[in-house]
Symmetry: C2
Subunit: 209 residues, 2 copies
């Protein structure tokens, strides 16, 4: 059967709980996380190589020039991107790689890795999303309103994802993501080599061996 | 999210262990089994409504005329078919329905229920398949040779299935089937109504509620 690693791209509205889902997934199952590169300054407690690879603009631009990024973009004066080498090496080593990334980046990944699966994490409802943002207590009302408006803009891209995973109960959400990965590996189109192999074998046996 | 029941069609070579997989699946998870109808005589220990609905030819033919079968076929002088009513009622009641059926029947089901998922259970290898048939000890060498030849003929249809599930370890195989069902329910195309709903809700919130 198919032993190739799978590239799993995870997006979702701010407040949908993607980060927690990814953390739990890695804690409970065997996944590798692709760490993004950025030129923004590290926040307190952020560690180079963990939350991000923190690079200078020169370093980042040299990665762009060297085609060492799968995708990159500039937001509010800072670069963000996905280093290519790590992803390719882990996939080759049959590891499943998780990439938590915003929508435009996710769609660019799919162009370059059509075999990747795109998952969009959703809250049970918009009301629930707003409640989570309020309960977090880290943003003021204006910022929350902006995030809700952004979620509405982003919602149009949900249809471009392969799967919609509801984050109602964390455990259930994590297991659904893991089920999707198990399931994708069993898809017929990912197992064509195995099918050819067993057909050849059966031919030998059917000739009366 | 999508609450619709899913129709899961399971096929596989004779000796691949489909029956055991289905039994375990029902014992561990919440599935309904669609029982086929047949005009063949019940074998020892077979119970009407359990292994099959055992019907007379007249009864079966009246079901054919009344369009009460999703698919039917005649083998070696006996009718076999899938009663429609049970499947439709269980799907409406949001239950997942399993149908263990041979290949031609499975492909006919897919024509009528394009939303159904087709799973093909495979042994790890042709060698292993033959070993299982021999170990079963219920068939002579000629019958085993026939089954292997039939498996070779059937192998060409594996590509028409949505998923290929290897039955190497029973528990793992059962959990893979269950993962496929969980995963399919999260597919974007099965959740279009939910996406529309959350988009509408987000629009209201983005207007500053």
């Amino acid at each position: 059967m198919n032993k190739q690693g799978l590239l799993i791209v995870i997006s979702g509205f701010s407040g949908a709980g993607k980060g927690t889902v990814v953390k739990e997934l890695v804690a409970k199952h065997d996944y590798k996380i692709s760490v993004s590169a950025t030129t923004r300054k590290p926040r307190a407690l952020e560690v180079h190589g963990q939350e991000y690879f923190f690079l200078t603009r020169d370093e980042f631009e040299s990665m762009i020039k060297g085609s060492q990024l799968i995708e990159w973009a500039e937001y509010v004066g800072n670069y963000y991107g996905t280093p290519k080498e790590y992803v390719i090496n882990e996939l080759k080593a049959s590891n499943n790689v998780i990439l938590e990334i915003e929508i435009q980046g996710a769609l660019k990944i799919k162009e370059q890795f059509p075999e990747a699966i795109l998952l969009f994490i959703v809250p049970p409802s918009a009301k629930c999303l707003k409640k989570r943002l309020v309960d977090r207590g880290t943003e003021d009302a204006t910022t929350i309103a902006k995030r809700m408006a952004r979620a509405y803009e982003e919602a149009v891209y949900m249809k471009d994802y392969d799967y919609i995973v509801m984050n109602d109960q964390l455990d259930k959400c994590v297991e659904t993501v893991n089920s999707i990965v198990i399931s994708e590996k069993a898809r017929t189109k990912r197992n064509e080599a195995f099918l050819e192999e067993i057909k050849k074998e059966l031919m030998v046996f059917s000739k009366g061996e």
